[in-house]
């Protein structure tokens, strides 16, 4: 048996499809009362180990979560330092979000026509209010001195700021039991603090956060330990947030929230189950239509379409593709389009069948139809490219859901070329040969 014979190819394709089929199954399947668990990949070959779990990665609109867009106010920053300050904002936000304990957040910058944006994606978050407050606050901490006497008293800022801190923690006040934020200074900050307390014994030492007075403790004596306590009227949440903000550092420029999209987990789960149902119904209609229109040939196309389905799903899991609701639509659309190459070939086959022997007619149909299939699909790939914007061109859209759509559509077209041409062709070669006398 030659390696390149159609039958061998078909066997190889089915083995590939079987693997893809296993990968594309959901994790747990109930089967006549038995609960089957799909195995995950866990390879160990000497020092080489490969572990992959084959679960679909769902986007914010399906799994639930928040998509936040902040705009940085860089009006007071000189032009050449703007980019720097925005990436500084990104780093600070990233640290804050990580300290807050949200799984797999994504923080990106984007600029369009001079506007500097920071896009924050927080999967699985139920109530984004706290997160928004945490991220959005500049958290510029500073210590001030009281200067002047009596009516003339005013606050004078010192050079001791949040930048001089090494650590901040939430603790509880020994006497009142209220949450406070304990801070530790860096070596240099500690020296500044010592000097400051020395100068102000018996006077208040106001602590200011973002131009607001948090507290103004009276300095009893010189403090040399390099640590202090901020005791405002904090709730536990506020104290926690402040500690995170102080640990992550202040934002170099102020930011404001310009866009928010939050999807609850229930709506996401509902969207998934509805799309799956719609997909199955559509798929059944397409399968039935192909058999009605093309008989036995249609059955071959149907086998190709099912192989297309499992290969695509497996690829989503392997790459992996983050699946969004428009992404599912893109997949369903590509299912509808996947049979196109088959239809083109079958229609051609109908024409050629009368003119020459069956096997020749088949090969000629595949050859002739290929030109149109290639040219037509390249134009679709072109549009998908513009929508997916893989190079992050700032003059085009960079929205996640739309990218998801473009990506699934493009993948669908690529795989459908394979199943439409390679799979159906070899299936038909085997099929037609069998029928020969």
């Amino acid at each position: 048996m030659r390696f390149s014979s159609p039958l061998t190819k078909i066997i190889l394709i089915f083995i590939l499809a079987a693997f893809a089929g296993i990968i594309s199954l959901p994790k747990n399947i109930s089967f006549f009362g038995k609960n089957l668990v799909r195995p995950d990949l866990n390879l160990k070959l000497g020092s080489f180990s490969l572990e992959r779990n084959f679960d679909l990665i769902l986007g914010l609109d399906l799994a639930g979560g928040s998509h936040l867009v902040f705009e940085a106010d860089t009006t007071n920053v000189p032009e050449q330092r703007r980019e720097n300050s925005v990436s500084g904002v990104r780093d600070v936000i990233e640290r804050r979000v990580n300290l807050f304990g949200i799984g797999e957040p994504s923080v990106q910058t984007a600029s369009f026509e001079g506007k500097q944006r920071i896009i924050v994606e927080l999967p699985g978050i139920k109530d984004p209010k706290d997160a928004i407050e945490l991220i959005g606050k500049t958290a510029q901490l500073s210590f001030a001195e009281v200067v002047g006497e009596g009516e003339e008293q005013s606050l004078a800022p010192t050079d001791l700021t949040g930048a001089d801190l090494s650590k901040a923690d939430v603790t509880f006040d020994q006497t009142t039991g209220k949450p406070v934020v304990a801070i530790e200074f860096t070596d240099e900050g500690g020296k500044k603090f010592t000097a400051l307390t020395e100068k102000n014994v018996g006077k208040p030492l106001p602590i200011i956060l973002d131009d607001q007075l948090v507290s103004a403790p009276i300095v009893q004596e010189v403090i040399t330990g390099g640590s202090a306590v901020i005791s405002g009227e904090f709730t536990l949440e506020e104290a926690k947030n402040l500690a995170i903000q102080l640990n992550a550092g202040a934002l170099p420029v102020p930011i404001s929230l310009v866009e928010e999209r939050t999807v609850g987990a229930t709506l996401g789960a509902e969207s998934v189950s509805k799309s799956v149902r719609a997909g199955l119904v559509g798929l059944l209609m397409v399968l039935a239509f192909m058999v009605l229109a093309y008989g036995g040939l249609g059955l071959v196309a149907d086998v190709g379409l099912i192989i297309f389905g499992v290969l695509t799903l497996a690829l989503y899991k392997l790459l992996p593709v983050t699946l969004t609701l428009p992404g599912i639509a893109g997949f369903l659309l590509s299912v509808g389009m996947a049979v196109d190459s088959n239809i083109l070939i079958f229609e051609r086959f109908k024409e050629e069948r009368g003119k020459r022997p069956l096997a020749d007619a088949l090969e000629i149909s595949f050859g002739r139809a290929w030109d149109s299939i290639r040219d037509a699909n390249i134009s679709t790939l072109l549009t998908a490219f513009v929508l997916a914007n893989p190079f992050d061109w700032q003059f085009l859209h960079t929205s996640g859901p739309v990218r998801g759509f473009a990506l699934t559509l493009a993948l669908g077209i690529a795989i459908s070329l394979f199943t439409g041409i390679v799979v159906s062709r070899n299936l038909l070669r085997v099929f037609v040969k069998e029928k020969k006398p």
Partner: protein, 291 residues
């Protein structure tokens, strides 16, 4: 079959459909969603039932005007407001929980500032220009004629007009909104439309090489040969989209409808707009040469 004989009829059908759409556009304009206008869109699910009037009243008591409120199903409402702050958002949820006497679940919350819309329009314009330009270059190169490229792009423009006009009407009568997904659909349709057109063109090119002859007859032959394929392929796409419209849920419904309109128009425009344009162009060119 002599398809090209009835060119006037095809142009008349297209003109009627696009005309109706333009009438809608001029008369009512497009209904833009929060993506473009800025504003808030809230989807709340109520544990205890409450009337839309009560919801609207309670929100307006808070000093936020309700742009629209829609009963989605299963005790959930879709509420559209101006862009609101986090405090207003908390306040609205609180007052609704109090008024309905049960928990209120926030299924979805979108709040878009006013600066986003104009940017979106610009970016959409760039994306359309790049996609259409790319298609023009690709088709012109592939068929070694600018005529083919321009006719194909005009056919895609036809489909875009049908879609936009259609959404002006759907927006007025059924509340369909122009949002980010609509933009995605519009771009996808460009490629659909040209997909079919290329298949017909390809047949013209192939026959031209083998048989020669004038474009009028070649076009008739090509359309006859590709008609069944074109229809069958559209059916399979339409099946998937109809399933999505009917079963896919509210978030994606109008997106699927936009794609559906585009698919139908794209199937029509290849044999009945792109090819007739090509034939007409060729004839005018010949007549000009003769005179």
């Amino acid at each position: 079959m002599n398809w090209m004989k009835y060119r006037i009829l095809y142009f008349a059908i297209s003109a009627t459909v696009i005309g109706a759409g333009i009438f809608g556009l001029v008369r009512w304009g497009l209904t833009f969603g929060v993506d473009f206008t800025g504003g808030a869109s809230l989807e709340y699910k109520f544990e205890k039932s409450i009337s839309t009037e009560a919801v609207q009243g309670k929100i307006e008591d808070k000093g936020v005007e309700v742009t629209s409120i829609q009963d989605i199903s299963g005790g959930a409402y879709l509420i559209k407001l101006r862009s609101i702050s986090q405090e207003e958002r908390q306040g609205i949820k609180g007052v609704l929980e109090e008024a309905s006497g049960g928990a209120v679940e926030e299924l979805r919350f979108e709040n878009v500032g006013p600066s986003i819309g104009p940017e979106l329009i610009k970016k959409t314009f760039y994306a359309l220009a790049i996609a259409a330009g790319g298609i023009l270059i690709w088709v012109s190169l592939q068929f070694k004629s600018l005529k083919f490229g321009v006719s194909a792009v005009l056919a895609t423009l036809h489909d875009s007009l049908v879609l936009i006009g259609g959404f002006a009407l759907l927006g007025h009568f059924f509340g369909a909104e122009i949002d980010f997904l609509f933009v995605t659909a519009a771009l996808t349709i460009l490629s659909f439309s040209v997909h079919d057109t290329i298949v017909v063109y390809d047949r013209i090119r192939e026959s031209q090489r083998r048989l020669g002859g004038n474009i009028f007859e070649l076009s008739n032959k090509a359309i006859t040969e590709t008609m069944v394929r074109s229809l069958n392929n559209s059916f399979t796409i339409i099946f998937m989209l109809v399933a999505l419209v009917l079963l896919g849920g509210t978030t994606i419904k109008w997106f699927a409808i936009a794609l559906l309109i585009g698919t139908i128009s794209g199937t029509y425009s290849s044999p009945f707009v792109a090819v007739p344009l090509l034939v007409t162009w060729e004839e005018i060119q010949k007549r000009l040469k003769r005179s």
